[in-house]
């Protein structure tokens, strides 16, 4: 329920705070460790996206982890994409799928060839 409240708020600080509360609540219950981890990750993601927006002048907020990686790859920020992959333990296989799709989308045929 706190998660929903978080989504109902358009204010980034408030949403992060709500998610932090939600993470605590989920942690109290052994059955909900997955949700706790996911919500904690979401806080990390929102913070990261704020930084990315400042650094790249593109919108990132509200994208999912995979979408964030895709966008970074399309924009040519390969290193940052790799960092997101490492931070959130994104499996290798998915990362490569995202990379192929990004290369196609940005018509980077040289990149595809090298792939």
């Amino acid at each position: 329920a706190v998660v929903v409240e978080g989504y109902e708020s358009g204010d980034i600080t408030e949403r992060i705070n709500k998610f932090k509360v939600a993470t605590k609540l989920y942690q109290d219950d052994k059955e909900h460790l997955f949700e706790a981890k996911a919500t904690d990750d979401q806080v990390k993601l929102l913070n990261l996206q704020t930084t990315l927006e400042r650094d790249t002048a593109h919108t990132f907020l509200d994208l999912t982890i995979s979408e964030t990686i895709s966008k970074l790859l399309i924009l040519g920020h390969g290193n940052r994409a790799a960092k997101v992959k490492a931070d959130f333990k994104v499996p290798e296989k998915r990362f490569w799928w995202l990379k192929v799709k990004a290369l196609v989308q940005s018509s980077n045929w040289d990149g595809l060839e090298k792939f």
Binding site: V3, V4, Y7, E8, S9, G10, D11, I12, R15, F34, E35, A38, T39, D41, Q42, L45, T50, E53, L61, D62, T64, I65, S66, F88, K89, V90, P91, K93, R94, W97, L98, K101
Partner: protein, 632 residues
């Protein structure tokens, strides 16, 4: 009235229509009608616009928040008893009174009022300004053999939220049917909520009889005959596998591709070769994008004879049939050259109207079939279907699991991914711990964090979950009910499994077990094994029934009235199949197939809370909340 008592869904429709007329006439003079958008489909099945007009309706509005500008002196609201709707109506009334507009208001709740809604009206301070009534629009005839409550979110409400309003609605509607067509002597069923429905029905009957003034009055409540010989109640949770599979009948695929709502499908006009409104001459700019993309609402029902012929067939045979029909129509048109005498010409002209209607319908279905073919020829569709068919056949191997993973990696729409993953979980008794963790992580990372709620919902209703200690029974169910049929013949089906090209829906196998006693292919196996018609029930199926979740039950309703007793044995038995939590078009087709196959001994009528597909069911379970746009 229905003195003859021959069961027909038409009588149900007439009933609903008359009640609507009475309701409209209860407000004098010219009026505006404000309709809950979720009811506009159902209402259009009951009454056409001209009927509303004849009874003083000048304007029709869709219920929406905000201001309602109208010059009508009275407004009639028809809506579901939802708090949101009532707040919206209260808003209208408040703005009107602020602007000094005097209007008289009536609200009719469908199918009945609720205390909460009346409380909201009180709190908003408008309770005194409105007349509150009920419009008992419950079971709607979508077809001659198909009744639906059209409660879109029935599955979610019943199994996720534990809100049993839908059961109550069904019970009330079935009571109404029993007062029209007689008490149903046998009620059998499977599943927790099926049991609740039967209990509720038995209790309601006692209450009705007890409230009658004297014995004579109570004897008149139910007619002295039973038009329906038995009722089989099926709880959707007994068979979750069927909706997760892709429907392969013509109507089922139309539902999968476009979505059918209250018998209507919305199509791109260019697709069906309808009268293209774009003038060919003149400037090319006449073609406005808004007009071009505006979807056309097309009704799909058996008054379209071609559709009636096609709807229940496996899609594989639809193309061939369409071209046959095209050839015949062409020949009929050519018939005009043979016309030599004036009488012959007259004859031809007489047929022309029919021919043109047929031609129109052929155009429509060729258009739809072409579009569906694009979908079924798609490589991804076929890979997905192959994995599905392996799963239901009990063949689960690593490449299949990897395929689901790939769906996520390729960012395939979430509903499709979930459908296959859920099917996997259902046939394999849940996911292994490690797998469950990984799939959940992948879904969250790819489709968004908010889906932790979607995943929780799916786990709660048991569609997608972690393996636990409970037995893994699907293989036994598959064998006991002969779900997989290898020699399926789509052209000349001899078994219901044709609707999924080789998989027979569990739900319909249950109906066969109860009514035909056998789930064999042809009708021969069971006809031989059963001497004389056995009563509808689970006899002989006690063991396999235990494999499925929820209680199995049989109830007998005795009328306790001597004058009853079946007068003349009707030639054809009518059996009512009730689905709680929705049924799919393929299940309807499979039941129709049984009606025909059983040499016309037994006809099946279906009553469901709503029509579903795996996708609409999963969508109703997804996290849904208003999400604010995020500002940095």
């Amino acid at each position: 009235m229905q003195a003859a008592g021959v069961f027909s869904t038409g009588a149900v429709k007439d009933h609903a229509r008359q009640e609507l007329i009475d309701l409209l006439d209860s407000v004098r003079g010219k009026k505006g009608l404000v309709i809950d958008p979720s009811l506009s489909g159902p209402l259009s099945l009951v009454a056409e616009f001209t009927l509303l007009k004849e009874h003083g309706v000048e304007k029709i509005y869709h219920l929406a928040p905000g201001k309602l500008d109208t010059d009508c002196k009275s407004l009639i609201y028809i809506c579901r008893p939802k708090v949101g709707h009532v707040k919206c109506i209260a808003g209208h009334i408040q703005t009107h009174s602020q602007h000094g507009v005097k209007i008289s208001y009536s609200i009719f709740f469908v199918p009945r009022r609720s205390l909460i809604c009346e409380r909201v009206l009180e709190e908003e301070g408008v309770f005194g300004d409105v007349i509150v009534g009920e419009y008992h629009l419950d079971l709607l005839p979508l077809e001659d053999d198909l009744l639906s409550l059209e409660l879109d979110s029935a599955f979610r409400e019943l199994y996720l939220e534990g809100d049993t309003t839908a059961i109550f609605c069904m019970a009330k509607a079935l009571m109404k049917l029993q007062t029209m067509f007689g008490l149903i002597p046998r009620i059998v069923g499977k599943g927790q909520y099926a049991r609740s429905l039967a209990d509720l029905l038995l209790r309601m009957r006692h209450e009705v009889l007890a409230s009658a003034e004297d014995e004579e009055a109570s004897a008149k409540i139910f007619p002295g005959f039973s038009e329906i010989d038995a009722m089989v109640v099926i709880d959707r949770t007994v068979d979750l596998i069927t909706p997760m599979s892709t429907q392969l009948t013509y109507e089922g695929l139309i539902d999968e591709v476009f979505g059918i709502r209250s018998t209507f499908v919305e199509l791109d006009p260019s697709m069906i070769g309808g009268p293209s409104a774009v003038p060919s001459g003149g400037s090319s700019t006449a073609h406005t994008p808004a007009a071009a993309t505006k979807a056309k609402k097309v009704p799909l029902n058996s008054s379209d004879r071609l559709f009636a012929q096609l709807r229940d067939l496996n899609f594989a045979v639809v193309g061939g049939l369409l071209s046959q029909v095209a050839r015949r129509i062409h020949e009929d048109y050519e018939g005009r050259h043979q016309a030599r005498t004036v009488t012959q010409i007259k004859d031809f002209i007489g047929k022309l109207g029919n021919l043109q209607a047929e031609h129109q319908s052929l155009k429509l279905h060729t258009g739809i079939a072409e579009e569906v073919t694009k979908y079924t020829r798609d490589k991804d569709f076929n890979s997905m279907l192959e994995v599905q068919q392996n799963f239901v056949a009990g063949i689960i191997s690593k490449p299949h699991i990897d395929y689901i993973e790939e769906l996520i990696d390729k960012q395939t729409p979430l509903v499709q991914t979930l459908r296959l993953l859920s099917l996997y979980s259902l046939v394999d008794g849940g996911l292994k711990t490690k797998q469950y963790e990984n799939f959940r992580r992948d879904i969250i990372q790819t489709y968004g964090h908010e889906h932790i709620l979607t995943l929780q919902n799916l786990a709660r209703v048991g569609i997608l979950r972690k393996q636990d200690t409970s037995r893994h029974v699907y293989p036994q169910i598959r064998k006991a009910f002969r779900l997989i049929v290898d020699d399926v013949n789509e052209h000349q089906p001899n078994d219901i499994s044709y609707v999924y090209s080789g998989y027979a829906p569990i739900s319909v196998r249950l109906v066969q077990a109860a009514c035909q006693k056998g789930v064999g292919g042809g009708s021969t196996t069971w006809e031989k094994s059963v001497a004389g018609p056995a009563p509808v029930g689970w006899k002989g199926w006690e063991e396999p029934m235990r494999l499925l979740p929820g209680p199995t039950f049989e109830e007998v309703q005795r009328t306790g009235d001597t004058r009853v007793v079946a007068k003349v044995k009707p030639k054809q038995k009518v059996t009512l199949i009730v689905f709680l939590g929705g049924c799919t078009f393929t299940e309807v087709s499979a039941l129709r197939f049984l009606s025909q196959q059983d040499e016309g001994h037994r006809e099946f009528i279906i009553a469901t809370t709503n029509m579903i597909s795996g996708s609409s069911m999963l969508k109703s379970l997804m996290a849904n909340f208003s999400r604010a746009p995020l500002n940095p």
